[in-house]
Symmetry: C2
Subunit: 435 residues, 2 copies
């Protein structure tokens, strides 16, 4: 049978990893596919004498590569937005299947890209775009296909989870750990995408779309980073039996879909609360199977290449079938069956809260605070009153039951208006994640 020809665009960490993996595991992969896979082109500007590139055409003319006759599948692992979008579009227009790890591209332009792919009868595969080597796209699109998915919650940014883990294990401050993560290569020189939750929001956009059968809607994700977390809050949460994780959460409600990325308290006994370091995990609640969890490496050359090459294997099978009917729909559901369920505004979301209120150590403050919450219909699950700080200020920590965010917003305005309260209320959302 004719071999399948690949072009790898980009020879950074992921591109080089995919090249090496295809070469190292060629025999094992051919045992699976029954068909030879050949790398015909590589798109790169830098020479890479450390890689085995014999018999591969190397060039920096990406548009020519994607148009070449001896290219069946284009692997876009350059990252970035503008050029990536151009080459992916050109590849599709020339009838090539595409494999991409580019979560930003898909979260922001995926709807147009998938529509173009349907039009040209090609497939765009993106397992590597979310949670690295964990096959979460396949699980959601195929493995859980019988289920109505109710919600999912994921640790989908390894850098953020490394920082949170170090803060907890060693009581370290955020900035201190971030600096170390940069030295270790876990965090970029500009860590904004990771620590402000933008990278997680890109990934959550994709997960939510395939979980619920809705178009990609990145701009509607409520996104909050981890930069304001203190070691103190991490410790108080611990004392109350919780861990703080930076979660991406997508949930169906009667009114619409919640899409949100923010630091979240979760009960320490949950398996996902024990996912530490740079690892990723996604917890999915579905109607038939109940809760399932998927754990593994979310980044790195090997794990990302694993996902890229799994997509290649799927596409080789699809090409062998030579029929579009065999392909799994891009967003798990048929393109004409996507739903227009609204995405909820942030203040319409429902969640529990951890509140830390630094109050003057005067009588009646706790009564005032609990009175405000009570009148707002907010129930308190736990109270932790700590010994006074310096200058007679007392941190009061409260855990509340789930409440609509607008009710909490209003209550916090009232609490901050109390005479005994002079600093802003620290609030962190809390999810029980019980299936």
């Amino acid at each position: 049978m004719k071999s399948v020809n690949l072009a790898i665009l980009g020879l950074g960490t992921v591109g080089a990893g995919a090249l090496r993996l295809l070469q190292d595991n060629a025999a094992e992969i051919t045992r699976r596919t029954g068909r030879e896979i050949r790398i015909s082109h590589v798109g790169t500007r830098r020479p890479r004498p450390d890689l085995q590139l014999d018999g591969i055409t190397c060039s920096d003319d990406l548009l020519s590569i994607v148009r070449a006759a001896d290219v069946d599948i284009v692997i876009e692992v350059m990252g970035g937005m503008t050029i990536a979008r151009d080459v992916v579009t050109e590849a599709i227009k020339h009838g090539k299947h595409v494999v991409t790890a580019n979560k930003a591209l898909l979260a922001e332009h995926g709807n147009e890209i998938f529509a173009l792919a349907e039009q040209h009868n090609v497939h765009v595969a993106f397992e590597a775009a979310v949670a690295g080597g964990i096959p979460i796209i396949k699980v959601l699109r195929e493995g859980l296909a019988a289920n109505r998915i109710e919600w999912l919650a994921g640790i989908i940014n390894g850098t953020g989870n490394f920082i949170m883990t170090e803060m907890r294990d060693k009581g370290r401050a955020f900035n201190d750990v971030l600096a170390e993560a940069q030295v270790l290569g876990y965090a970029e020189a500009d860590p904004t995408f990771d620590v402000e939750g933008i990278d997680a929001a890109h990934k959550l956009t994709i997960l939510a779309s395939i979980a619920f059968g809705i178009p990609l809607q990145f701009k509607k994700v409520y996104t909050e980073g981890i930069t304001k977390l203190t070691a103190q809050d991490v410790e108080y949460a611990e004392q109350l039996g919780y861990r703080i994780k930076h979660l991406g959460i997508a949930r169906r409600t009667a009114d619409g879909i919640e899409l949100r990325v923010h630091p979240t308290l979760i009960p320490e006994k949950r398996l996902i609360a024990n996912v530490n370091g740079v690892k990723n995990a996604v917890l999915v609640q579905s109607d038939a199977v109940g809760p399932t969890l998927y754990f593994g490496a979310g980044a790195g050359a090997g794990p990302t290449a694993s996902a890229v090459v799994a997509d290649v294997v799927d596409l080789v099978r699809l090409m062998t079938a030579e029929s579009a009917g065999a392909h799994v729909p891009h967003l798990a559901f048929q393109p004409d069956a996507l739903s227009d369920t609204p995405i909820l505004a942030a203040d319409q979301m429902t969640t529990g809260y951890y509140l830390r209120i630094d109050a003057e150590d005067t009588p009646g403050v706790l009564a005032d605070v609990t009175g405000i919450l009570s009148r707002a219909g907010i129930n308190i699950d736990a109270i932790l009153q700590k010994p006074a700080h310096t200058q007679g200020r007392v941190p009061v920590v409260l855990i509340t039951q789930p409440v609509r965010e607008y009710a909490m917003n209003q209550a916090i305005v009232e609490i901050e208006a109390l005479q005994a309260i002079s600093s802003p209320v620290m609030r962190i959302r809390l999810e029980n994640l019980d299936g």
Copy 2:
């Protein structure tokens, strides 16, 4: 497009669950497949007035059902061996795809069944046969297709894990918890399959085959149950920083493949050590992605039906493609590419050990024991000497580094021959499961 017709054989827990799930989530499933799925026949002996069976032909003549023209996919969820094998064989010979949850049937007769399916150009899907609703078959066959899988370790029998969890959490005795599990419906009246590890061995056989691309070889699985575990051992393991789980382990070594089911100490900080109750989890170590873990419900109507119906969705896609090239090979690798790597005999396997030796409280016993281990080349990682029992007997607990089993067998013979040792040495294997 023509609807796809299903026959469900068996209306027990799983069959009724699959029927309900297909009916309840029909709209969501059609959104995914783009094609209507219709249940045309049900094979059952008992009337089920509690189910919605309008428009479905019900009969107990299973062989006629699988031959019927208005059946495209046969769902075998009766269990058992003889009749199940007959109807699956007959269905395949009549060109029907098959979905089965029958792990015993596949582990013991899968090689013939898959060969027959290849010959008749149909597919036999079996996601529900292992770990219930966790899509572990899909993950291993497709999601990790780029990887050379090195080993996997799974909690793949929920009954056993429930018993182990209760023993640990509450210090209860094995028989006591087993009796409760039977009352709760977690364990059968005859619990042999669960507590002796046979059910786990069936599942491990299937997992190993698709992980390594080897034929199904149930008879070569080393299988040890949990009936001999004592609350005391669970507690000592705990004091040493370990949990005991009943694991199915498949591992490539230079000499062959280890296939084994036995109680296993694992470090308490591993995620899989924290999988409790009736839940299942499979930890997979692969060369590119490293360790990944898959967690969820391993049994029950909803989870098993979730897996059955996911297989149906895959088959509908395959039928729509009308080309055999699109199907994933039954055992993940092409049938002519299966490997004849030998399965290791039990005494050739390598593992760490927990040893509990009840010795007379006389001087020199510990020196004798450690001397025997030292001469056998077995290194000790930890020693826990407990206060004397009644009658002056002292339990000595040792943790060893990995060693070939035959060396340990020989050392235990020597230890048991010591004058100060009058009861058999309790041994439990130990795995670090570090990726």
